[in-house]
Symmetry: D3
Subunit: 269 residues, 6 copies
């Protein structure tokens, strides 16, 4: 599909990643498109029930390659459900992370960052493309104020938003990376960011980053992996709709309402 | 499917191989089963046209694992055709080579061998199980006589049967391996076979085997890969039908009539 | 040190792990021992300030081996602080996870489990030794009731306790693994546990475990890595004191009061 | 030998290949040179019997390196025979495949191709050098007509020439690769050749190529590995003779009459 | 330390090497510096006894990285001794081999070589930098004369200087490599050196080099590894003192008097 | 050759090693056998000049396997010289190190050791077989006395015998390993030997062994690699002669008089 390649070129994908069409017949006409973060069975069933012809997800269904798609597991079940219903599936993963208007760019926009640059510039892309973004807040904020803005900007998930650092510490320079960003700590330190917003931080990377911090910075804000990437969906849907209209196609484009964050509730002190 | 596992246990498969269900819903009832060597598009379309519920092939559709089953290639096209038509696909490959009553056993039977043993015994199976077989002809034959028997026993394919050795040489001890058997030359020599019947022998393995031959033996007979494995299909179909009847299932079991040997004609001196 | 080897034998450590003495002179007399989860600079400074002769931590300081201990980084800084103050450092990590009375055993005890067995039995140890434990609650509980018990048993940390599953779902069989347990999902499913309590679960492993769940089980409870291992410290201190007294040594043994969970506060819906 | 390096430079050899002198004293004078495809014992004995000083073969004797040349196997036997008779051995393998006037070029010439280009251009050579060639027939032919020409151009071997495709299909653009060419299918498809002539095609590569074919093309013609490379010998002998004459050396150059195709007879339908 | 980096830049180190600070607090003032070849316990104890603040050695203490610096081995003992005494340790190894004024340059100077060039030029350095040197003697010498000069230039060690070659053979072009130089034989031959002076030559490399010699050259002179590198120490100490004085620091710089060649006596014919 | 296999079974060779016949026709009669340490050109030429039919060397000619034996290098030159002269070559390397009556056993005998055991027992051999030996001197000696005995027992070579340790230190338990033994230091320490006699010790292994020594032991004695293995030749020749006579063969067996130690002279303090 030409429009998808224009928006999120496959050349921006990381080498370990798999993007592009996963299920579907290329010659079939598409009338309804739905965006989602994860191709879970619940998301697929909902898309099919709504008459979707093309489901575009951020996470790949078959990242680890398979020798069988028999419906003896949830991945084969999804393949059967999709093909039986004539719904195609397409992945826009690390290519959508890196692109202009991609996941990281949308996060930076929502936090109001200016003068943004990639944390890890893409090797084969434009200078503005790459994983993560770092930029400046329009005005300095205390850490707890900034964390509240992050919390408000995200769709509500059970796990909330965890913060490491002093509540009253001042933050001005912000690094963000949608999804799991624990491989970018060196880039975050090199950029001298005051705070790093990402997801899926475990004890050891987070502790080592805190021990290595100078004057306590960068602070860390750990958000929901799902929520950080969900934010990209409405923008992506809007962009795709516009590109398709420019190409003369009349297509409905929507965003899945299913929350695929795995956590259902939390107990806190 | 219990019956398949009983006949050709997955534990007999080689470590690099992938066997078992590839497409289909395990809960669906099966009324018509078809056997074939290769899951080519022609075989799949024919099976679907005949109302087949389960296609059992010797060669895997997805031996190299895939990240996508989109119908942009012939493998994805086969997956779509099968799922859209409600036809399951199952592979019985190196497990069916090794089993008692498997590909190698059927070949040995057709050539009338006695006192047969595996060329490469299966590590986790019975002593009678393993890749290839070696056994004795009931009476000594000249090489050209034995080659004629091999030729007559096989389904006719364009490429015929190639022979290396003296026409009048005497053969008594015969090694066979359905499909490509060029990794078993050491076992063939250790068994002191007079002739080795297998498929897909290329110039270098065949030449080195001829150079290393003692008194010109083992002679070599190179047959069609497809034909050598096709011989197993009727036996396999019969066995499966019997097992299913014993379990109280009334199922039609057939063999595909499509020739999937790739060659269409030959020019010879 | 003989007493440490008796309690947590090095042979129980995983192959990638490094346990035993890290800093210190073996001939020096030990009067005060302190236990902690992490050898952070704050923990080391506090231990030194309290006149500690031997600091025993669960996490290794030098898991990734080093070519330099210059005080140009926080690990070298810790080495200098310890040697300058005459305080030794010793690690009891995956050996303490696996041992009887080790981290996993203590968690199982605190949750009141009976008939406990290791999730992944130790290859070179007793049958009761190994990573993780699975056992039965004395009576069935609803998931939210059990989660509350887990929450109450843990030292309070900012991130709290996250739960995936239905509040009213019934749990009887419980799997636990102190620290990061995402490599044990196969063992948890094989054990048919109703719920799995562990730490550091990220989006993809947790989501895939939820998709693969049968009837929604196992439920997941994600606790603080630090908190799950802290629970072992008082028991470990008590055991070591007893062993040393039996050997005729009069030694003070304490537990560090420093919270080394990296998170300082949380925002929840 | 300078002349050999000029004609078939070692820099054109593939990285896994071994070319150049294998046996012989560099200072010894050469009066008689013989070319052959394979250094079999029969070829070596014949060369020695004819008083050959230098045997040049296409296939290496010691492609897999050896720790012993004792005459306990056929390779050591060949080394002894050569050294005892004062006959040198030299290999021109993938360098002779790639060179201008090399194996692939000779095949293209014999089939009358024009506008030829390499299928896989050599990295370190001229633009006209590389493995395989693709070019145009002077006029369109039906597949069976073209196959007849291929058959007539080759030295007669038992196995003949196998063809996959429709007899009456039209071919104009032809890809050729002497020896085993199954690694070049991607290049053949990219070149949009109507037919691919090569050797040693086994069931799986041939079948997958037929399944992936668009409108049935490229058709496949499988010839004898030996025969496809033998065609190069007279040209090579002529070229070497000329170069040596230009250098003022009076040398006899011949081609071995031994057929080293391993197959002796064939049975066809 | 800026002065050290200026003299022996870390970028000149080989990829497998580890150079720079190993022990010590960067903020501590340095008054006394001592140079040595090896950080043996005897060298460290002597340095500490003399009030040294910084010990600079050619060989790394922790070339193989460690998970523990407990004083249960001689490396941990050295770390404890250094930190307890407030003495830092710094390594200048293959970077000091390669640099201008480094180990190889000093050897070339002492032997009076002119027109020197590196044997293996440094990839990231100046053209004059790299491992080993090759240059011309001011006048031709007999091998035994040149060996006597080498012997006289070296600090006396038990093992002396071993020579392979004819006593009266003429040498003019000399290759040198401080420390173990057996990986540079190809470069020595390419440079057409008459003699190669290096250390730690074992039977097989030395024998193969002698067998491969043309007209018996290059001759070999095997010196003490320690002695060949010790020669660099006075020059290094002088250079560092000068750089520090230029920067306005008044520092004592000395050379350790401890002989760390492992051999104590020799018996010769 | 049956006699060789009986004396030094190939199964005792290390996995990286290559032993057995290297050059020669197995059917040729053998009248004169010569033993040598190294198959240098000088040794081969001397053997050929003396009418030798079989040269048995300790070191392999083709340890690194080769793709060519052209006489463009010294190894190919040796192959040509041997085959042209009808002299076979056979290697008895690590199998001869390990065997009873092998290199290590002969060294232990010459030093008068009793109660000898292998340093590294052979996995597939008898308990008395393996690399190296450790045993007791009949009476305690001072280190310099023992070194003198070692020196006197060895054939004279230029490099002499180097010793690390106190002249007057007492040695009783002695470890020996013919050839390069620096991989056996752990076994030497575990055996609590007072002194270790081996060859080819370089600076770093020797220094680290000295640093790790307890009370200065084990002392080290570094002998000529060639000399340590030459000692085995007369015993080996005698044993082979006896075995052959028992088999009824009348064969001359001798030892090469060529010294293949690479060093020609030494300068010492």
């Amino acid at each position: 599909m030409v429009a998808v390649e224009e928006l999120w070129p496959a050349s921006l994908a990381e080498s370990w990643d798999t993007v592009g069409p996963v299920v579907g017949r290329p010659e079939r006409k598409v009338k309804r498109i739905m965006f989602a973060v994860d191709p879970t069975l619940e998301v697929v069933a909902d898309a099919v029930a709504r008459g979707t012809d093309l489901l575009i997800t951020h996470h790949p269904l078959l990242l680890r390659p398979v020798n069988s798609v028999a419906a003896t597991g949830f991945k084969g079940e999804a393949v059967h459900l999709l093909i039986e219903s004539g719904c195609a599936l397409l992945t826009a993963h690390t290519n959508a992370d890196s692109a202009i208007g991609g996941v990281s760019d949308v996060l930076a926009d929502i936090f109001g960052l200016t003068d943004t640059q990639p944390l890890a510039p893409s090797k084969d892309g434009l200078p503005e493309e790459g994983i993560g973004r770092v930029g400046m807040l329009p005005e300095p904020l205390q850490l707890h104020e900034f964390a509240s803005r992050v919390f408000s900007a995200m769709p509500a998930v059970a796990g909330g938003v965890r913060v490491a650092g002093e509540r009253a510490g001042i933050v001005r320079k912000v690094a963000v990376c949608g999804g799991a960003g624990d491989s970018l700590f060196d880039a975050v330190r090199a950029a001298e960011a005051d705070v790093y917003v990402t997801a899926d931080l475990r004890h050891h990377p987070a502790s080592e980053a805190r021990e290595a911090a100078l004057n306590g910075k960068p602070y860390l804000i750990d958000v929901s992996h799902f929520a950080s990437e969900w934010l990209w969906l409405p923008t992506a849907a809007e962009s795709l709709k516009n590109v398709l209209q420019d190409l003369g196609h009349e297509v409905e484009v929507g965003v899945s309402a299913i929350n695929t964050d795995p956590w259902d509730f939390i107990l806190t002190p």
